[in-house]
């Protein structure tokens, strides 16, 4: 048994590695990126398993499915909105007969620290009828990931581990356990993996029939803890994931804590919930994310003669992330004394593009190019360049989801937006921008796509990208954009006038143009210089 300092994400990765992992797949996204980063570092040190960044989450999930088909254990990790991209293979894989253990780790971002929404992945687990673990600390992240592989192989289903930002990006110490060997190769059966209606109907019925067994597993899981206090039956608490931590933080010891059920697995441990609810008059539900447990218990009509408190009743905030202080208030405990200052001095300091960032030069050129056009719209995408929405640039009008810049520009252009401009990074383009560009080629839409190629997945910490430089040009040619309207510019202050000229020409071209604004991420360039200096 060794002790290690790990991020919550890294504890998940190590749990998978120690559970006999054969291959891991992912696409970068905060707060999940560090799972794959750890796996790649570990796989470089010790041969045995593969760990790979993929072009997007759907691809990553499907590659993991191939590993499972071959009887080997596999992990696929992503941020919450990444599961939207991978929803197709995820939902359908629940119907197959998973062979080698398949664990899907989804890191939610309550509070939207680095995301466009705060959707709660537990609903996806429910939607797909699969089992889900929700760790509250690093040790559980390690232990539950290991258990998730066992459950996956026992019931032949994909199993979810739901993380949240505060655990993903918190460091602590864990104790590791024995290292398991990889599974031998052992192919899946065609009739269990070929989702023709006749197979899919049989498999789905099987999945539905297995639900009581999943609930039974939850009822008996050592990760779900029920502690009923006989001396006080007024209040009982149901707390899941890191919500449990915030409850316990507010009691000096376990003795003075009210009756409590800690929920760590889904489907919900119905028998344990019934015991707690029957024991007390008022139930407070503390969960990070949407009110899933609360809504499930409440149903349409609530529980006769019991009070149920939580997010739906306003006892806890419905949006944003939980905190020990918000939970304290819900528990009815007096707030702690704290220092105060005149907060009017606190000028806000939002994130911004780095000094010398190539995107800044692209936005300067784009803003000046578009100045004469009063009706221009710039549809942006997901990446560092989304910060172009903020001052001093205020250069973009939208950011919705991966790849939407190109598709929205096409839709807008088709009903009269002019100029209709898309701004998308090289990695986001590879992830989800190629297919809408193919659409735009088919209609020769009058729009201009600016690909800001910095040769890196920058926002998430500098992961490798799949289509940069000449390779990117080749892809765009291959998609069918006319060669004379594929222009490459270098975003530097000295090139400003030249770049404006290119942008003007392509905007005025009545049809589809792609401008590649090519310059390496300044952070990567700096690192190279540092390395060279050593």
């Amino acid at each position: 048994m060794t002790r290690e300092i790990l991020l919550g994400d890294e504890a998940v990765a190590l749990g998978a590695i120690h559970a006999g992992l054969s291959a891991g797949y992912s696409y970068p996204g905060t707060p999940a990126s560090e799972i794959m980063e750890y796996m790649i570092r570990a796989s470089n040190k010790e041969a045995g398993f593969k760990a790979t960044w993929c072009v997007n989450e759907k691809v990553a999930y499907e590659e993991a499915l191939g590993v499972s088909f071959a009887g080997k254990r596999t992990l696929v990790s992503m941020k919450h909105v990444g599961l939207n991209v991978a929803a197709d293979p995820f939902m359908n894989s629940a119907i197959t007969r998973i062979n080698g253990g398949l664990v899907v780790v989804v890191a939610d971002d309550p509070g939207m620290h680095s995301s466009q929404n705060e959707q709660d992945s537990r609903y996806y687990a429910h939607f797909a009828h699969v089992f889900c673990f929700e760790p509250s600390n690093h040790q559980e992240a390690y232990d539950m990931t290991r258990s998730a592989f066992d459950v996956s192989e026992r019931f032949n289903i994909p199993v979810m581990v739901r993380m949240v930002t505060r655990l993903s990006h918190s460091r602590s110490r864990i104790e590791t356990r024995e290292i398991k060997k990889e599974n031998p190769i052992c192919y899946g059966q065609g009739q269990d993996w070929t989702l023709l209606p006749m197979n899919a109907c049989r498999r789905f019925a099987h999945l539905v029939d297995a639900q009581p067994e999943f609930i039974g597993l939850s009822n008996e899981s050592p990760f779900n803890l029920l502690d009923l206090k006989d001396y006080d039956k007024s209040l009982g608490i149901i707390a899941s994931g890191i919500g449990y931590n915030y409850v316990m933080e507010n009691y000096s010891n376990q003795e003075n804590c009210p009756s409590l059920l800690k929920v760590s697995t889904y489907p919900l441990p119905e028998a344990l919930i019934a015991k707690l609810v029957n024991h007390v008059e008022t139930v407070l539900v503390v969960e990070e994310g949407y009110p899933l447990i609360e809504q499930t218990i409440k149903g349409l009509f609530g529980i006769p003669e019991k009070k149920l408190h939580g997010k739906l009743t306003g006892h806890l905030p419905r949006t944003g992330e939980l905190s020990p202080d918000a939970v304290r208030e819900a528990l009815g405990i007096k707030p702690r004394e704290h220092l105060r200052i005149d907060s009017s001095i606190l000028a806000s300091r939002p994130p911004q593009l780095c000094q010398g960032c190539p995107h800044g030069d692209t936005f300067n050129a784009l803003n000046q190019t578009l100045e004469p056009y009063s009706q221009a719209s710039v549809f942006s995408d997901i990446g560092c360049y989304t910060l172009g929405a903020l001052p001093p640039y205020k250069a973009v009008d939208s950011c919705v989801c991966m790849g939407a810049s190109v598709s929205m520009a096409k839709g807008g252009a088709e009903v009269g937006v002019f100029p209709s401009v898309a701004v998308i990074g090289d990695s986001t383009f590879a992830h989800s921008g190629i297919t809408p560009l193919l659409d735009a080629v088919a209609s020769n839409t009058n729009m201009t796509v600016v690909i800001v190629d910095n040769a890196l997945v920058a926002m998430t910490g500098g992961q490798p990208t799949f289509a940069t430089g000449e390779k990117l040009v080749q892809i765009i040619k291959g998609v069918g954009v006319p060669e004379e309207h594929i222009r490459v510019i270098v975003p530097l202050p000295k090139n400003l006038e030249k770049n404006i000229q290119v942008m003007k020409e392509e905007i005025e071209h009545n049809g589809l143009s792609v401008i590649i604004s090519l310059r390496e991420c300044i952070q990567k360039a700096k690192k190279k210089i540092k390395k060279g200096a050593k």
Binding site: H113, S170, S172, M459, K534
Partner: protein
């Protein structure tokens, strides 16, 4: 026995390096710890903070409750004020006095320093001057760690050991420069 600490600064100023040193020193000293940090979008030149909790007993929350922190360690003066409500009424601020001005409405630095001094226990350090004295203005984070060291429940020896570990791959000169920065910070605070 426990200690809750807020580390503050601007993305890129090296507060995660301070966290690395304290985390490892705590582990060596046999303490439990949890340290919540910020990755992703917020790192890009924005305000960053890390909640660092040390304790002899089990730690539940990754986040520090308001009013529980004993110490704010900040590499930037305005940032030292951003999390004051996490400090208990007897809490202490150890901060650099050198502003990092990457926003148009940065308040007059005199006003910021007056506000910091209004906190009963405030240790103000000219980290830029001391870091340059040590060899590089990049070592300001280690100056501030040195200045905060006497308030920390981890031992100075352990802190210095992990400064060495942190900079080992960059060569002996960089290690010694950061150790000097730590010592200069410590002396300036005493």
């Amino acid at each position: 026995m426990k200690q809750d600490i807020i580390l503050a600064g601007v993305g890129g100023q090296g507060i995660l390096s301070i966290a690395f040193v304290i985390d490892n020193a705590a582990l060596k000293d046999g303490l439990n710890f949890k340290q919540a940090e910020v990755h992703g979008m917020a790192q890009r030149g924005g305000a960053v903070q890390s909640h660092l909790r040390l304790s002899k007993s089990h730690i539940f929350s990754d986040l520090i409750p308001k009013g529980e922190a004993e110490l704010i360690i900040s590499v930037e003066p305005l940032e030292s004020l951003r999390y004051v409500e996490y400090l208990n009424p007897d809490g202490c601020i150890v901060t650099s006095t050198n502003p990092f001005c990457n926003i148009p409405d940065y308040p007059p630095i005199e006003d910021v320093l007056v506000e910091i001094r209004s906190v009963k226990k405030a240790v103000l350090i000219d980290s830029e001057k001391l870091a340059k004295e040590a060899g590089s203005s990049r070592a300001q984070n280690m100056v501030i760690l040195g200045a905060a060291s006497k308030y920390l429940m981890v031992g100075e020896e352990s802190l210095m050991e992990f400064i060495k570990v942190l900079f080992k791959s960059r060569g002996e000169n960089i290690v010694n420069m950061n150790l000097r920065a730590f010592q200069l910070g410590k002396e300036a605070a005493s």
